[in-house]
């Protein structure tokens, strides 16, 4: 039986608190899109470290490949050619799990412990507890988790929880040739990001900024964008992501309300029976059909 190896902030499918007395350092991975050359080293390192291999596909008329996240590709580069006032810009965004502080996947997950959030901020899937319902996909504001056809488990970036647990940086951050991906404490990364934004502003990117969406209480993978006012131009990065209202109702208020209502109904019936008694055939009718008894 495996042991608890990290301290836990949240655990899916669990209504009681998880052991969370110890507070580890909050970590974060910063992706500086303005430094990204789209070389896909992160994709390669991710596959290599995690021992996943996607299928060898085909070219679809773009440089993106694999075309989308899969159970084997936990990160992909998304390329968009955008004409701005500065001329042509090639905006290349590394897509993958954002490790939200308030994870929609975890909220939606019904299986106890299939998704956990460690106190260092990593949101990790525990495939052995995963039941394959795919609710996390419904719950994720960034469309990240992917269900494997082979084993009906969902997979996504672990932020190399196995490496971080022993004090190392994630494989993608280590390998990134240009330093577009950096890793450290969330505080340090925020400081680094602010420096980058200042540099970008000095180079005329007046709307450069940090993408650390408040709708999910911030993320542990966050971006520096040259055009933070229009995240949508980065291959559809959502402008103000948050856990969908639907998901909040479904896995939030509705859960206790519905359970309570049903319980109330059951109790109501019981008390009705006790107070009013059963509805039996009347004496007159019994008399009329005495032969039946």
């Amino acid at each position: 039986m495996a042991l608890q190896s990290l301290d836990i902030t949240r655990r899916s499918g669990t209504t009681t608190p998880s052991p969370a007395q110890r507070k580890t350092m909050e970590v974060a991975k910063l992706i500086d899109v303005s430094k990204c050359i789209g070389c896909k080293a992160c994709q390669a390192a991710c596959m290599e470290w995690n021992d996943t291999r996607d299928k060898i596909g085909t070219n679809h008329g773009v440089l993106d490949n694999p075309m989308d996240l899969t159970e084997n590709s936990w990160t992909v580069m998304r390329y968009s050619e955008v004409e701005t006032s500065r001329g042509l810009e090639w905006l290349i965004r590394k897509d993958g799990c954002m490790h939200c502080a308030k994870p929609g996947c975890l909220k939606a997950c019904p299986a106890p412990g299939a998704i956990v959030q460690y106190s260092n901020g990593i949101v990790d899937f525990q495939e052995e507890n995963c039941i394959g319902c795919g609710y996390c996909i419904t719950g994720c504001p960034f469309n990240i988790p992917r269900l494997s056809k082979k084993d009906s488990k969902v997979y996504k970036c672990t932020l190399c929880s196995d490496r971080v647990a022993v004090g190392l940086e994630p494989a993608c951050a280590k390998t990134c040739p240009t330093g577009a991906i950096v890793f450290g404490t969330k505080e340090d990364m925020m400081h680094h990001a602010q420096g980058r934004v200042a540099d970008l502003k000095s180079r005329g990117f007046t709307s450069a900024g940090i993408y650390d969406p408040k709708g999910v209480d911030g993320t542990h993978v966050f971006y520096v964008l040259q055009h933070a006012d229009t995240p949508g131009i980065y291959s559809g990065l959502p402008k103000a992501p948050s856990i969908s209202g639907m998901v909040s109702i479904w896995k939030g208020v509705f859960k206790p309300v519905a359970s309570f209502a049903l319980a109330l109904g059951a109790f109501g019936a019981f008390f009705h029976y006790v107070i009013k008694g059963p509805n039996e055939v009347s004496k007159e009718n019994e008399k009329e059909f005495e032969d039946e008894k």
Partner: protein, 806 residues
């Protein structure tokens, strides 16, 4: 590289041109992003295509493929016209003030001395005017009409911004913006670095493109400076080392050269290479040529090399011409080559005009492949349908395929672009029966030597006498070989300045090439590598990465040739009085008694400032050459010539001389060149970030990341041709066709050139008919069989194609 990878972080302006470092050298490219982030550097990409390097550039500047000389010539014109040169540097450290011989001329595209029949120049007028003392004449005022600066001004005055824009298709305002950025580095405390690769070399004027950049750097005073220089980003992990070791038709190790058949006299052979100073007080380091040469011959032939037999001079083959790879395949094509070896080289994919190559290989009697992978060349005789349509039963070539180890399975050193020789170690045994290259060479050689011993035969002497003292003769160890090329004392060596003192005992490893002798008392397999394995052990395996100056100079990491020097010509980083031009980049300095500093001085350590010795110690005149003398095949000043397949059918500068008059071109191949009438689009071939040449199509991860062959075209051309992204298209040149998926992009824009709209077609090279990625066509089906005049490098970067939906 004159400088090295980490040094790029010191630059103020970085230009990637004739290369695409972000894709081909991503980890070296990090020093560009570092310079941007920590040195406020401006980063400019000049390329026909908006590359992944351009994705992070401050300024992207388009130009038509093959027009880099026009562009950089325009830059030279701009710098001279706006007086944005580092005048003091130019005066003291270049040949700007030297007076050129009367008779030198440039007219309508040709320099003086051209011989149309031979397609080459008589270069006798491309020389300095010498004084009675044998030294070159100079005019310190640089006003003499025949001084280099004035000739330079005159030559490039034609390269106006309008002319540049007309030839290159670069919008004039962007060109001027680039010039403005470049001009800022004429200040002594600002540097520019050029990063280039095969985007410059693979043209019929490739060497001259590089020279033009070097001239710009000399004018700006950026050579020898930290964050400056002209930096070749070599393509393969040890192509630097293999070049250093001289594995080329006409070279010997350490940039020494083989004698030609007219040089059968040993003394004359040496004299022609041991350049005497052209100015007083110059080091002219090649004066030591004989020491290096004799030590090499002692290393190869041991006791058989004696003073009496001129150190086996006769045993060296003599050249009648250069047998570069284009020449070799031409001979093959003519049926004049019987045997061919390919060691870790896949020429069927790497040499132009695949049809000609298949024809040549089919005429061989035997072909020996030494490779870790199943290459296309080894399988040239296999029928792979549309990708390789041949009939094996008609191919009579015997083919041997010998499995070699890969990097992970052997010890040894590789030399990177920055000339760092780094040692690596075996991590696992090779698969199956694979052997290291050295053992395969030993295996073949020992059998051959046995046969000559037993049977005799044609001139067996060099084969029988080659030194082979390896502990296990059939398995020479990398360590033994490294010690051999480093060199050792064959007798006790006395200190030349302090005679009785012995600096090296017989048998000891040498510390530096300065210890080499021309009397046969030292051996050294490659003089520039001396110092790599000394009595202290393997210097290439050193792992102290400390960088005391903060300039990225890590002298205790591995071994950097020459003499562990990181920045070449670093004497030029100080002014003539010995003070660094920029106090913040103190690479070396004069401390009152000697040269010292963060780097190993590229200078005689005890020559005080004010002495006449110039910083370019390899040159007989001690200064950098704006005027190349007779060193280049097509002229002392780079001139814009069109690619052999040009989309505009003319040269706007001189319509009578369209392309390089001295380029490597064979008669038969001229018929295979297309014109813009049938092939209207300018094509260029290149690598992409996900793949390495033709290797990674054999590896799963790389094949996943970019699985299938594609070509890139701009949206405008796609619209014209009715091609949508993802369509299969056929691209063909006069030499053949390929089919690939179309990537339609905004990153290729049509250019207005000489009154004509020119579209580019981009052709990544990585696919073939062997591998685990999707099979594809070898891109060299399309490319023309024509090469640079100096290096014979094929023109892969500029040719003509047509395209349509398949």
């Amino acid at each position: 590289m004159t400088n090295h990878w980490v040094d790029i972080k010191n630059a103020d302006v970085i230009i990637v041109m004739g290369g695409n470092a972000a894709e081909a050298h991503p980890c070296g490219f990090k020093w560009v992003t570092e310079a941007k982030a920590h040195n406020s550097a401006t980063f400019i990409v000049i390329d026909p295509r908006f590359t992944r390097s351009a994705a992070v550039a401050d300024l992207y500047c388009p130009l038509r493929t093959g027009t880099d000389i026009a562009f950089l010539g325009g830059v030279i014109n701009y710098l001279l016209a706006h007086n944005k040169i580092q005048l003091e540097y130019v005066k003291a450290y270049t040949n700007a003030s030297f007076i050129v011989k009367d008779g030198y001329k440039f007219d309508s595209g040709l320099f003086s001395g051209y011989d149309d029949a031979k397609r080459s120049y008589d270069k006798s007028t491309w020389a300095y005017e010498l004084g009675p003392d044998g030294y070159a004449k100079v005019d310190e005022t640089m006003q003499h009409p025949r001084c280099v600066l004035q000739l330079l001004k005159k030559h490039y005055s034609r390269y106006t911004p309008e002319a540049v824009s007309n030839i290159c298709g670069t919008p004039k305002d962007i060109f001027l913006k680039v010039c403005g950025h470049i001009a800022t580095t004429s200040a002594p405390n600002r540097t520019l670095t050029f990063m280039y690769a095969l985007g410059w070399t693979q043209h019929t004027v490739g060497s001259q493109m590089i020279r033009t950049a070097a001239m710009v750097q000399l004018l700006l005073g950026n050579v020898g400076m930290a964050g400056g220089g002209v930096n070749a980003l070599r393509g393969h992990s040890n192509i630097q080392g293999l070049t250093d070791l001289g594995l080329l038709s006409n070279l010997l190790p350490g940039y020494m050269s083989l004698p030609s058949e007219t040089e059968t006299d040993y003394k004359k052979y040496i004299a022609a290479r041991a350049f005497k100073p052209l100015r007083p007080g110059q080091m002219s380091f090649w004066q030591n040529y004989e020491k290096f040469h004799v030590s090499l011959m002692k290393s190869w032939f041991g006791d058989a090399a004696t003073k009496e037999n001129n150190w086996c001079f006769d045993w060296l083959p003599k050249l009648d011409k250069v047998y570069d790879v284009l020449q070799a395949f031409e001979l093959m094509h003519q049926g004049k080559l019987n045997g061919y070896f390919c060691q870790g080289f896949n020429p069927l994919a790497s040499i132009p005009n695949k049809a000609k190559l298949i024809d040549g290989l089919s005429k061989l009697k035997y072909l020996v492949i030494i490779d870790p992978l199943a290459t296309e060349t080894s399988c040239f005789w296999e029928d792979h349908g549309e990708y390789n349509n041949v009939d094996p039963s008609k191919i009579q070539t015997e083919v041997f395929r010998l499995p070699s180890t890969c990097f992970a399975e052997e010890n040894g050193s590789l030399t990177n672009s920055g000339r760092w020789m780094q040692w690596h170690y075996q991590g696992a045994p090779p698969p199956g029966d694979a052997k290291p290259d050295a053992q395969i060479m030993a295996g073949i050689f020992l059998k051959l030597r046995d046969l000559y011993r037993k049977e005799g035969g044609a001139f067996p002497d060099p084969i029988l006498n080659i030194t082979w003292g390896y502990r296990i003769p059939h398995a020479p160890s990398p360590e033994e070989l490294a010690m051999e090329y480093n060199g050792k004392a064959l007798a006790d060596l006395a200190d030349p300045t302090d005679k009785p003192k012995i600096i090296k005992k017989k048998g000891q490893q040498l510390d530096t090439f300065l210890q080499l002798r021309d009397d046969g008392s030292t051996s050294c397999g490659c003089w520039i590598f001396a110092g790599a394995w000394t009595e202290k052990g393997n210097m290439m395996a050193r792992r102290d990465n400390s960088d005391p100056s903060g300039l990225g100079i890590t002298l205790k990491w591995a071994f950097t040739w020459p003499a562990n020097r990181h920045i070449l010509y670093n004497r030029a980083s100080c002014d003539p009085s010995g003070k660094p031009w920029d106090p913040n980049r103190k690479v070396i300095y004069w401390d009152g008694s000697k040269w010292t500093g963060a780097d190993v001085p590229d200078f005689k350590p005890d020559i005080a400032p004010g002495n006449q010795m110039g910083p370019f110690i390899m040159q007989p005149e001690g200064v950098g050459r704006l005027f190349a003398l007779d060193k280049m095949a097509e002229g002392p000043f780079p001139e814009h010539y069109e690619p052999f397949e040009t989309p505009i059918d003319t040269n706007p500068l001189h319509p009578a001389v369209i392309n390089n008059p001295a380029a490597r071109v064979f008669k038969d191949d001229r018929g295979d060149f297309g014109t813009s009438k049938d092939f209207p689009y300018a094509a260029t071939s290149y690598r992409v970030a996900e793949h390495f040449h033709f290797w990674t199509k054999h590896t799963r991860i790389s094949s996943i990341l970019q699985p299938q062959q594609f070509v890139e075209i701009g949206e405008e051309l796609a619209k014209e041709k009715g091609i949508k992204a993802g369509d299969m298209v056929k691209v063909w040149s006069k030499r053949g066709f390929i089919k690939a998926v179309a990537v339609v992009t905004k990153r290729f824009k049509p250019l207005q050139v000489n009154g004509k709209t020119v579209h580019h077609v981009g052709i990544p090279i990585h696919w073939g008919f062997k591998g685990i990625a999707k099979n594809g066509y070898l891109a060299n089906t399309l490319t023309p069989f024509v090469g640079d005049a100096n290096t014979q490098t094929p023109e892969f970067k500029s040719f003509l194609v047509n395209i349509e939906k398949a």
